[in-house]
């Protein structure tokens, strides 16, 4: 028997999910009931009353009993045999009455103007409707749900009620978004999106009934209200009350669905393209299974770089130490002529993290087949150890479960990852899970947004994470909390691993990590006692030499509690780079060939490439994209070293420090101009579609490489389209075999899992911290934090040049003993000096570990700096929160 509910709507028999609301059942069956406050995916609310229906339900004696009054279909659940009428004369009259009340507070001059049929959307109105009341001056004109609903209802175009303009000032002082509360119909979709979906509660309904309106506490700026600038409120607003500021009035002539190039979540975005070939808006796709209609500050407001006029439009070759524009054939001939002499191992290629699978497949093939060098890498692969051992131990090198399975996790362990800024959308299911009662354990020295949601926030000593996890493992064994059947039947090496735990005496662990035994025991209980526990790790604060140990310990933790292969359990590595996963899959890394086959001789990694450049071992360097080591001290070192090469070929879209020193610059297409695929952190393959046409002579990287290859006498890269490359990928890469290129939609395609016959435990070692971050000049470690909202301290918002600005004094956390030694007492003004920065603030002495200092900045400061940045693509170069060495001085 079907577990669906049968009902009839307007005489049509349909089936609906049990427990769903009438309006959703109608929508699923392509029937329309007018609505304004309802929004698919959010809880029923019943504010606007537009969706009223007549409904009757059968009684046991076979007769029908009408539901009292006219229930709102968005709050009335379906029931078996229900009969629903949506369009009777009464209902239509009722709706019209409601709409009249609604538009009595919404400017609607154009709606009841007698010239409306004659007036085009861009025509100038001479006198019929005053400027404030025109639809044509509204940024949402023709995208307005209210207007569409009025038209659907074929209202009499008169206003019987007195129209009341609220005369509220517009809120235009915060970055990226504009708010005009004169247009608000108080459906509170935005408030609910912010609360229910994003968990931020940065906006709310303020003031009393009749005057209620959307706002923040005491009218403060979004910069301090806890807003993460994800734009969810804009996406759900049915009117023009909340809109994106940039290209506010621009109309879309085309909508293109593509993949976001900012992080490995791979959000599916629908880009609005205007008639001048510009991407004016980005709206996350609701059907996409990777992001479920969510986006973040980067995907919503960080795509304007594709419209930047300062693009590199022509190939350039350095002649007499000056870069000169040349034609494509000349540039390619030049490159091929030079590369001819570098086909014996002194060539290296670094592909772009934003390169498609096709680009990066072509890149590795070019390097390996044409240039005969294994020195090929992708720029985001700066910490390959994050996933290298995963594949051997559990059989996959990406997240073992899907992102949105986190919704039903009962415990989520997050190790050193600032998800809110690095892989934002992953934080949405985590916050929702916490709201439903899940326990979140965060192990991180920095205070981040998610530490606020944590049941336990653990700040271990630097680089002691693997020992801490070892302690948790030991405690699980000590308390007999392990899943013995799973560990012995589905895994190998359990006994050996178990024996390795005897080193992890909790007294020792506690001394090494600075975390009390009690805390470790509690974490073991929380993690092991839950039905489904998942682990996410970014290991952003952990030194390279400790990453392998930590990853192995985390895999052991997932195995010993039987959480691998379980729904809503599993393990999620968090790396950066939109197509880092795809690049690995297609072999654009030095240690793997396409399809994860190991290479016979391994190429060198990113830092080693720059070393080899300066030592002369590599004479020709091919850089696709300039994304390396931004915001790290390594950047200047890297640039210095690659100057020593004989030949530096750069594919770039914008001029940068790298193009300045390049011998050849080839203009490369941006994600918005490409056809291709990305693979996200779940192993989900997504399509990229060209949204805008070419700006200059730029080309896609695979085609550039294929033309160079042809000039070098190789036919290895003779492709005519990116789909040709993809076809070859599906043949070469085992896990991509089932990919149907033509049916790839916004839901994407999960690549075939690589299955191990059994999981593997790895014995772990009790390691003393090998690496030290500090030196004599800079003896302390600084842990910078960033959160959305800080209740304890005033953000001190001031308005400068019509923009809200944060002027807050930072508080610097410090260990009490350290402070005493340096003669610093609570509240003193102190200064942190790092190699590349300094920061002044008031000392706050607490139980922080000795040798550490920490601050917590506001996310608003990051948004401010991004908003005012002159970089073409500031979001791609967002300063991550990294530990660094500093010294502290009293001012």
């Amino acid at each position: 028997m079907s577990d669906k509910v049968n009902l009839t709507i307007d005489g049509v028999e349909i089936q609906a999910e049990p427990g769903s609301m009438i309006i959703q059942a109608a929508m699923d069956n392509e029937m329309y009931i007018p609505y304004l406050c309802y929004y698919p995916g959010m809880k029923p609310y019943g504010a606007c009353r537009m969706c009223v229906v007549k409904a009757e339900a059968p009684t046991p004696d076979g007769s029908y009993r009408a539901l009292p009054g006219s229930p709102a279909s968005c709050t009335t659940p379906v029931s078996e045999g229900m009969r629903v009428e949506t369009n009777t004369g009464d209902l239509v009259g009722l709706r019209k009455g409601i709409m009249e009340l609604l538009i009595s507070e919404h400017p609607h001059g154009c709606l009841n103007c007698h010239r409306v049929e004659l007036c085009g959307p861009t025509d100038v109105c001479l006198r019929h409707v005053s400027v404030n009341d025109r639809c044509v001056t509204c940024p949402k004109n023709e995208r307005c749900e209210l207007k569409d609903t009025v038209r659907y209802m074929e209202m009499e175009l008169t206003t019987p009620l007195t129209y009341n303009n609220r005369h509220l000032p517009m809120e235009v002082k915060d970055p990226y978004w504009d708010m005009d509360m004169n247009l608000c119909i108080v459906c509170s979709r935005c408030v609910r999106a912010c609360d229910e979906v994003r968990g931020d509660r940065a906006i709310t309904l303020i003031d009393k009934s009749g005057r209620s309106i959307i706002g923040t506490a005491a009218g403060t700026s979004l910069l301090e209200s806890g807003c993460e600038f994800c734009g969810a409120c804009i996406d759900v607003c049915p009117t023009g009350a909340i809109v994106e500021r940039d290209y506010k009035w621009d109309k879309a002539v085309q909508k293109i669905s593509t993949t976001c190039p900012h992080c490995p979540v791979g959000c599916q975005l629908d880009l609005d393209v205007n008639k001048r070939n510009k991407v004016v808006r980005s709206i996350p796709n609701r059907k996409a299974e990777a992001n479920m209609g969510m986006a973040c500050f980067k995907g919503k407001f960080g795509l304007d770089f594709v419209n930047n006029k300062n693009r590199l439009k022509k190939p350039m070759v350095r002649k007499n130490s000056i870069l000169e524009e040349v034609t494509w054939p000349e540039a390619l001939d030049f490159v091929a002529g030079k590369l001819e002499h570098h086909q014996d191992g002194d060539y290296a290629l670094i592909a772009s993290a934003r390169g498609t699978n096709e680009d990066n497949f072509a890149a590795q093939k070019f390097a390996r087949r044409v240039m005969k060098s294994n020195n090929v890498n992708v720029s985001s692969n700066s910490r390959p150890k994050l996933v290298n051992s995963l594949q051997n131990l559990i059989g996959t090198d990406c997240a073992s479960n899907k992102i949105w399975e986190l919704l039903d996790s009962q415990v989520i362990l997050l190790v050193s990852a600032n998800i809110t800024e690095e892989q934002n959308v992953v934080s949405v299911p985590i916050k929702q899970a916490v709201a439903k009662g899940a326990n979140l354990i965060v192990i991180d020295q920095r205070e981040t947004e998610l530490t606020r949601y944590a049941t336990k926030w653990i700040r271990p000593l630097i680089n002691s994470e693997s020992v801490l996890i070892g302690g948790i493992l030991r405690s699980i064994i000590d308390q007999s909390l392990e899943d013995h059947d799973f560990a012995t039947e589905k895994c190998e090496g359990y006994d050996k691993f178990r024996n390795s735990l005897w080193d992890f005496d909790l007294v020792k662990v506690s001394a090494q990590t600075g975390i009390s035994q009690e805390e470790i025991r509690e974490m073991a209980q929380i993690f092991a006692n839950a039905g489904a526990s998942s682990i996410l790790y970014g290991l952003e604060t952990i030194s390279d030499s400790h990453i392998n140990d930590t990853v192995e310990s985390l895999v052991n933790l997932s195995l010993i509690t039987g959480n691998l292969g379980k729904k809503s359990g599993g393990i999620y590595p968090l790396f950066s780079g939109a197509n880092q996963q795809g690049s690995r899959d297609v072999g654009c890394v030095p240690n793997l060939l396409p399809g994860h086959r190991p290479t016979a001789s391994q190429g060198i990694d990113l830092m080693e490439i720059s070393e080899a450049c300066s030592s002369g071992a590599i004479k020709a360097l091919h850089l696709i994209g300039d994304e390396l080591f931004h915001n790290t001290p390594n950047r200047s070192e890297f640039l210095d070293k690659i100057k020593a090469t004989d030949l530096l070929i750069v594919h770039e879209s914008f001029a940068s420090e790298v193009t300045e020193i390049a011998d050849v610059v080839l203009p490369s297409a941006l994600f918005s101009e490409k056809t291709g695929t990305y693979t996200n952190m779940e192993g989900r393959i997504h399509r990229l579609r060209p949204a805008i046409g070419p700006i200059g002579d730029e080309d896609e990287d695979w085609r550039i490489l294929s033309q160079i290859a042809a000039r070098l006498g190789s036919d290895d890269l003779s492709y005519s389209s990116s789909d040709d490359v993809l076809t070859e990928i599906t043949n070469e890469v085992e896990t991509y075999k089932t990919l149907q290129i033509n049916s790839l939609d916004s839901r994407g395609h999960i690549r075939n899992p690589i299955l191990n016959s059994s999981y593997v435990f790895s014995p772990i070692e009790f390691t003393q911290s090998k690496e030290t971050l500090v030196n004599d000049q800079y003896p302390m470690v600084f842990a910078p934090g960033r959160v959305l909202f800080d209740a304890d301290r005033d953000a001190g918002i001031v308005t400068e040049n019509d923009l809200n600005t944060i002027t807050r004094r930072e508080v610097i956390e410090m260990n009490e003993e350290d402070a005493k030694e340096a003669g610093i007492s609570e509240g003193d003004v102190i200064k942190i000096l790092g190699e590349e920065f300094e920061l002044t603030g008031n000392a706050h002495l607490n139980g922080l570990h000795s040798g550490m200092v920490a601050t917590t900045a506001l996310f608003g400061t990051l948004i401010e700096s991004l908003n005012s940045s002159s970089e073409p693509d500031p979001m791609a170069k967002t300063a991550g929160l990294r530990l660094c060495k500093v010294r502290v001085e009293k001012v």
């Binding site: 408030v191 609360d195 931020d200 509660r201 940065a202 906006i203 709310t204 309904l205 303020i206 003031d207 009393k208 009934s209 209620s212 923040t216 506490a217 005491a218 209200s225 806890g226 909202f789 209740a791 304890d792």
Partner: protein
């Protein structure tokens, strides 16, 4: 200055902690604070948000919905005039006029010198004594304009005596 602020926070925390009822909500906490502190300062919004694990915005949404919560410190004395039906029939209008005249106000609000917060009240629950006026939560029945003026004068005199 800092001590004043800290003191305020302590009192707010006391108010939140003092609630003995089994379910403590945002609303009940706000009421407890208004009872103890007299109004809802910014700090109260923050403390209630922290205590109920929600955001300041959500708490402000609740607080701003109810006309009875005030966000500024009240005057030193509270004066309420009942204008319920009974009091109205028995002459509340005259009382109102004389009170507003004396305080220099047009309607509900605080006097400029911060001495008195004046409010209308829809029923003080003493209809048999109508018209009724409440001064610092003390009821005075069968009010007459001159009696009321004396009462108000005494408020100001008390101050000068002190």
């Amino acid at each position: 200055m800092t001590t004043d602020k800290d003191n305020l926070r302590t009192r707010i925390q006391q108010a939140i902690q003092s609630q003995k009822r089994p379910t403590v909500t945002v609303l009940s906490s706000l009421l407890a604070i208004q009872d103890l502190v007299g109004y809802i300062p910014e700090e109260a919004i923050e403390e209630v948000a922290a205590h109920s694990k929600t955001s300041i915005n959500s708490v402000f949404g609740v607080a701003s919905f109810y006309p009875n919560f005030r966000f500024t410190p009240p005057g030193e004395h509270s004066v309420e005039v009942c204008w319920g039906p009974t009091c109205h029939l028995k002459g509340a209008t005259e009382i109102l006029e004389s009170v507003l005249g004396k305080l220099g106000l047009d309607s509900e609000g605080d006097t400029d010198d911060g001495k008195v917060s004046f409010r209308f009240n829809t029923c003080l629950g003493a209809c048999s004594q109508a018209p009724v006026i409440s001064v610092d939560h003390e009821l005075y029945g069968n009010a007459k304009p001159d009696i009321v003026l004396n009462l108000l004068n005494s408020l100001y005199e008390k101050e000068t005596l002190n």
